[in-house]
Each structure stands twice: as C-alpha cells, then as structure tokens.
Symmetry: C2
Subunit: 465 residues, 2 copies
C-alpha cells in the first residue's frame, strides 16, 4: 500500500507489504517480513502510519474536528434534534454528538464547546510532551548505555531513527520495533524496558488516568470555569477517555490489577524456565512487567512467547482479547448505568464486569475456524508450530490489535520431521502462513480496529453476572 | 461414592470412583476407568445415576413436586406474595413459583394447577415410552444384527444390560456406554447410531419440540380446556421446556441448523482422513450426524476425537459450550423479553443471540488456567497429548456435561520420546490427569450442572448484538 521496496536486495511481496501497512495503521504490530530488511524510509513510513493510527492521536483528532467546525456541528445537531423529537420513541442511537447535546440547553452547549477547546489543547500538549520527552530520553539512553548502543551499531540502525520509531511505536501501542528481535534483544536493559512501559501505559490503557492528571495540572495554571465543569461532569463533553473520578479509578485499577495478577502468575510459573534464561531476579520481574503491560495492547515482546508456559499464554490470550476500555466496577457507580437492563438493577446484582466480551466470542471462533480450514495441511504436518493454540493466539492478537506472536521455530518442526530443511525467520508466526491466511489476518486486524471505533460511539457492552 | 468394586481383580482408586459417580450423576460421561472393568452391578448403579440425573427426569420431578403438594405450595406462595408486596421495589428474584403465581388470580391458579397435572402425565408417558420402546428396539437390534451381537458376546456383555444401559444413557444424554470404545466399535452399525441419535435428541435438545408434539397427540384423545390453555399460553405453566409455537420453532431450528452446519464442515474437512477410515459414504454421513448430535450434550462418540481436524474440533468445543437452551431468535418474539434491557428494545436491534455465553467465558478461562497450572509438567513433557487445546477440550466437555474427550495415545507420546514405555488405555483423556486435575474436573462438572439449574430459575442470559 504505502510501502515500496527501496533496497534492491529485498523485494517483498505485495501481500507482505499490504500486511505490514495494515498492521501499522491498525497499530497491530504483526509483521510477516524481517524488520531489519526494511529501508530507513520504509521504517519512517511505517512509524508515521502508527503515529496516525494511535489511540491518543485519533481521539485528539476527534476533539479538534468537533471544535473547529462549531457552526456545522450545531447545524447538524439542531437537525438531528428536530428529527429526534419525532423518532424519540423508536430510535435511540446515542452517537457522540447526541450525547453532548441531548438534554442540554444552548448555554451549556457553548460551555461544553469551550471546554472541548481546552480539552483539545491539553491532549495536544500531552501528546507532544510524551513524544518529545520520550524521544530525548530514548536517544540519551541508547547513546549512554553501551550494551544497547553496540547492539544498534552492530545492526547498522541509526540511533535517532531507532529512538524516534520506538517512542512513536510504544506511545501509539503499535508494537513494531526496528530490530528483528523486537525488544527481546534489550531484555537485560531494564531501564529501556521500564521507559517503554511508561510510554505504553500513557498511550493507551492508563490514558484516562494520565489525562485527568494533566487536566488537574492545567487547572493550576489557568483558573477556568470550563475546566472545573469538565472535571466535574465529564459526561457532557462526551470524550471517551475523560471519565469521572470514580470511573477513572475503576478503569485504572482494572489495568493495574490485571498487570499485577499476570506478573504473579508469570513469575510463579516460569521463574526457572528457559523463557527467563540468563536473567537475574530483578530483570525477570522487569520482563514479566514488560510482558504484562504489553499483553493488553502494545504487543512488544522482551521474551520468546513460544517458551511461555500454557497457563500464562492463556492469560495473555484473555488480556489481548479485552478491549482497553474493559473495566471491573460496581454497578451503581457506573455512569453508563442507563445501558444496564432494568432487571439487573432490580435484582441487586452487586458487580458487573463491563467489557466487550460477548458477540465478539462468536466472531473470534469463526475467524479461528476459518484460519484452521485455510492452514489445515500445516496443522497436520507441523502440529508443534501450527498447534491450534498458536493459531488462536495469532488470531486473537490480530483481533485485539496487539501483535504478540508465538513465532515459528524450525527446531519444533524438525523434532517431528528431522529430514525437512528449514531456516528460522525473525518475524511473526503469521509470516509462515499461506497468502490466504495472511489476507484473513489483514481482515481480522481491520475488523478488530473497526470494532474499537464502533464501540466508541456510546455502545456499552456489559458482562452480566 | 455410590460405587464399590465388586471384581477382585479390579481395585479402582477412590478418586476414580468419585469421578465416575459425579460424571454419571451430572450426566457428563467422562470416565477415568475402563468401562468393561466395571462389574454388572456397577454398570447398573452408574446407569441409575444417569437415569436420575437426566434432564427429562429432573424436569418431570419438578412438575410432580409442584402438583403433589398444592396446599403447601399455595401456603408458601401466599406467604411469599405477602412478603413480596413489601419488598417488591427492592428484590425481584423471579423463582419458578413466583412466575406461576404473580399476576394471576385464584381461578387462573387452579387452572394452571390442573394443567400442571396433565403436563406431568404427558411427560411421564413420554419418558416411559422412550425407555420401553428404546430398550426393546435396542435389544432387538443387537440380537438380530450379527456384527453387533458378536462384539458384545466377545466382550462378555449381557445383551439386555447393554440395551438397558445404552437406552438410559442416551436418553439422559449421559454418554457412558458399557463398552471400552464407547460407540466407536459400532461405527459401521448405522442403524444403531441413528436409533441413538433419536433417543439423544428426544432426551434433551429437541425435548421441547417432541413435548409439544406429545401434548398435541394427547389433546386428540382427551378434549380438555386445560391442555388448550397450556398450549396457548405456556408461560403461565412456567415449565422451561414448554415454549410457545414460535419459541419451539426457534429452539428446534437452532438445534437442527447447528447439526447441519457441523455435518457439512466435518464431511468437507475430514472426508478422506483417517478419522473416517474404513467407512463407506453413507456410514461417513451417519457418523458425522452422530457426532454432530452428540457434541451438543450426550457425548457418545463413534469416531476417534483426536483424529478430527482442528477446525471441526473448535466447532465441537463451541457446541459443547452452548447450553441446550441456546436459541437464535428475533428479539420481539422472545417470551422473556422483559429481561432484555430497555436500551436494546429501543435501539431496534433485530436479532439477539439468546445463550448462556458471557460470564461463563471467564469461568472457563479460569478453570483452564488452573488445569494448565496443575498439569504443567505434562504440558511440557508431552505436548502432543497434553496440548493446551486438548486441556481446553476436556474442561469445556466437563463444564458442558458433554463428555467427549480427545483421549490419549501412546503413539503421540512416543513420537517425541521413543524411549518411554506406555500402554494405551480405553478411557477419557482425564484418566491420564493427576489426582488434583481429576478433582478439578469433578468440581467443573458439578459447577456446570449447577449452572444449568440456576439458569432454569428464570435467569435469562442474553447475547447482545
Ligand atoms: K499493538
Ligand atoms: K453427557
């Protein structure tokens, strides 16, 4: 799509370029080519695609679109409202626009309009800050710490380009890193891993928490009523990442709780296993933290996923499957209470798992079945690499736009077929799939990303207990 | 629990007997001992446990309990009602009793009471008919068809006992068959397989359809108003398997549609594969039908599940996971419409998948993770038998009380470890699990069965699209 080969030695196939572009734009991070074979300009293009596809950037664009054209928006809104008064009884599609405007009079409309402007500015500042600070910190780190510097020198990767690509990719939760081994080659550089962890959290799952923090900071400098109003009744703004205090608390504690649980399970299951070979205790915990944070959305890996024990792999599949808005919260505090059925309110259910779980199970099962049909020969011939679990892992990873992959190991093939020749390749497991399988994953990545967008428009998925 | 060893050669361990009793009582059908090693009296006890645990029997008991003690029931009801008038605003637990009584006056109460009696009689006749007819048909079949007769003679199994156990087990959807190979040894006896298919459908998934048919037949002989009333407004009876015409239609077409889909996929994926080796085209289709019907609840197998291709295995897992009440239906026709949230009604969603899908996903993932933790050593040592997929398969099979199992093959172990000695055993995969693993499955089976009961008490799980 956007990427043409620059290097004359390297002629990637069209399907691989399509796959990589989709993967970058949907911030999935699966790759069917070795990253180091890409030219610098291809890396830049890929990085820009991730920049554009990242959650913070997309939501910022949404806010600016709504502030820059107030007249048109209002026009639409008034038309929508007049239509809605007629159809109110039958249709109730709560779009973002509706949510700001319905039940509010003109004065509130103006106030929320100016709140929106402030919000846009805050997000822009937030976005610029993390990119600039991230780039500088990353550049300084790889320039100072000799081990990482030498790795990059040895690979002939420009330090600046690496810092830029890594910062953007981590903040956008894209997961594509300019090295063949992703972050696995930096498994011992705990500093770099922790720095990436912060960027990853800031760019997606903990964005609501950090955003609220930023707005508080912003308020200190400019005493403004709109900001007060924004903090007190975030519902009127209709911005998905701006929640009430309590909402932010529940969202964030869900994120942190899952990370803690995953670290515990990972460390207790794999402490002495090959997956952590060569690391000291501190590095093991940092790597477990890195994987726990990346399993939710970013998909960078500092360990070999195929060596992780099955119990942890299953947990990772579950975490990849959860959308970033998944929240465990008591029912009554939920600002989207109106979506919860009457029955439930009455039956006094104490807790509700608010997540996008349900009809999506069906979609994933279908995708996996189709993938198994497409790759049926390999599933029989090479069951250690093409086990059904790895196929499920890859499909869920594409679906959740995460990009973790169990990879492919020739050693596993040759355990069963010692006579077959095979050369290991430093790309995702999907790189070994047939073209039809790759195209299926392209569809799954797009579907997964679109699902996230459709979800944004006020539809709440509730897990009823 | 109920089973003590009779045969002096055979001293089963306590955990295996606990497992078998639970498996029979919850009509799961997993077994950790070879069935032919059980004595006749043990087979009888197991069969009686399945008889008692079967869906039709349990629901019949429910009806008779409600009819036999009208005075006590009414007393309870009136007390419940007086309490409810106070607590109406806060508590709304719609139990079966509440459902009959609330919103109906005394006269309707009497009428529904006498309808209940008729219903109980119809179900009793239905239940007796299928057992007697099934037993006779099965006995005649194995006595006449020489191939099946010789198999049983060779194994020293009494023909009458086999016919009795097979009939009860199939009708109760228990899945335990007195032969080591389950129905695999009868794969070429299409007549027997088709006969079992009818029993299995009559005893669970198509019970609502057959019940309605029986009531219609019953009406021909006795012109009674209560029966008319029962057929017209089945809601007032509050019996889960008595649905409206439309409800019956949707429930049954869901069942038949899934069977048809599964047969199509199975035949197209595995037509020339070892799983169907030695069968002619007609037998292949009959075996596919048999597996499709048994994947929903009964869990008898006429082919080796470990040879089924992954795509079909995934579909089987999905079908095992679905409760027997799963129904695809348009929203408006649903008689449990009140459970569906207001929001959904308003948003004009056309279709709703009505199934128990949601919080159960979480339970299953947790169970599988625990199973993987318990069996972690075997998962590493013997990945072809203990692949994560087979563990998932076993857990879902126990959870759905289905009882299909991929089994265990020494040939797969010895592919990777030719030096290890190993003797194949004719029981479920779970028979190879550790004691802790077996106990976990006992818990899962009980949980799965209780889930089905709790679900019966008017809680509707809805898949929101
Ligand atoms: K990603
Ligand atoms: K069963």
């Amino acid at each position: 799509m956007a990427l043409k080969p620059n290097d004359h030695d390297f002629k990637p196939r069209y399907v691989d370029m399509l796959f990589l572009s989709t993967s970058a734009l949907t911030v999935s991070g699966l790759a069917t080519v070795a990253m180091e074979r890409l030219s610098s300009s291809q890396i830049v293009v890929t990085t820009l695609l991730m920049l554009v596809g990242g959650e913070v950037f997309v939501s910022m664009l949404g806010v600016f679109c709504r502030t820059s054209k107030p007249s048109v928006a209002e026009l639409t809104v008034s038309r929508v409202n007049s239509v809605r008064t007629i159809e109110l009884e039958t249709i109730d599609s709560i779009s973002t626009v509706d949510r700001i405007e319905s039940g509010t009079d003109i004065s509130v409309k103006d106030s929320s309009q100016s709140s929106l402007k402030y919000l846009g500015l805050v997000i822009l500042a937030y976005w610029v800050f993390f990119h600039v600070a991230g780039f500088i910190a990353c550049l300084v780190y790889v320039s100072i710490i000799s081990s990482s510097k030498e790795v990059l020198r040895g690979k002939g990767i420009n330090l600046g380009l690496f810092a830029f690509a890594t910062t953007v990719s981590s903040f956008a939760n894209g997961g594509l890193i300019a090295t063949n081994e992703n972050m696995l080659i930096f498994a011992k550089n705990s500093g770099l891993l922790l720095f990436v962890v912060v960027l990853v959290l800031a760019g997606n799952t903990l964005f609501p928490l950090f955003l609220r923090g930023s707005i508080w900071t912003f308020r200190r400098f400019t005493k403004n009523e709109d900001i007060e109003c924004m903090l007190k009744s975030p519902k009127e703004i209709g911005f998905d990442h701006l929640l009430t205090n309590l909402g932010t608390f529940f969202r964030s504690s869900t994120v942190l709780g899952m990370i803690a649980f995953m670290i515990m399970l990972f460390c207790s299951m794999d402490w002495r296993h090959p997956v952590f070979a060569g690391l000291n205790s501190y590095q093991k915990v940092v790597n477990a933290l890195f994987m726990a944070v990346n399993a939710r959305h970013a998909g960078e890996n500092s360990v070999d996923c195929s060596l992780i024990s099955p119990a942890v792999l299953l947990l990772i599949i579950f975490m990849m499957y959860l959308p970033s808005s998944a929240t465990f919260m008591p029912l009554k505090e939920d600002e989207e209470k109106k979506y919860v059925s009457e029955k439930e309110n009455r039956s006094g259910t104490a807790t509700v798992l608010k997540m996008l779980l349900l009809p999506q199970v069906l979609a994933i099962i279908l995708f996996v079945i189709v993938a198994c049909i497409i790759e049926r020969r390999r599933l029989v011939l090479d069951p250690l690499n093409f086990s059904t679990l790895t196929v499920i892992f890859e499909v869920v990873s594409a679906y959740g736009n995460v990009g973790l992959s169990t990879g492919y190991a020739c050693s596993r093939l040759q355990k069963l077929h010692p006579e077959m020749s095979c050369v290991d390749q430093p790309y995702s497991f999907s790189g070994w799939w047939s073209d039809e399988g790759k195209l299926l994953l392209v569809v799954v990545m797009l579907y997964g990303r679109l699902k996230a967008f459709s979800q944004r428009n006020g539809k709440a998925w509730t897990l009823r207990g």
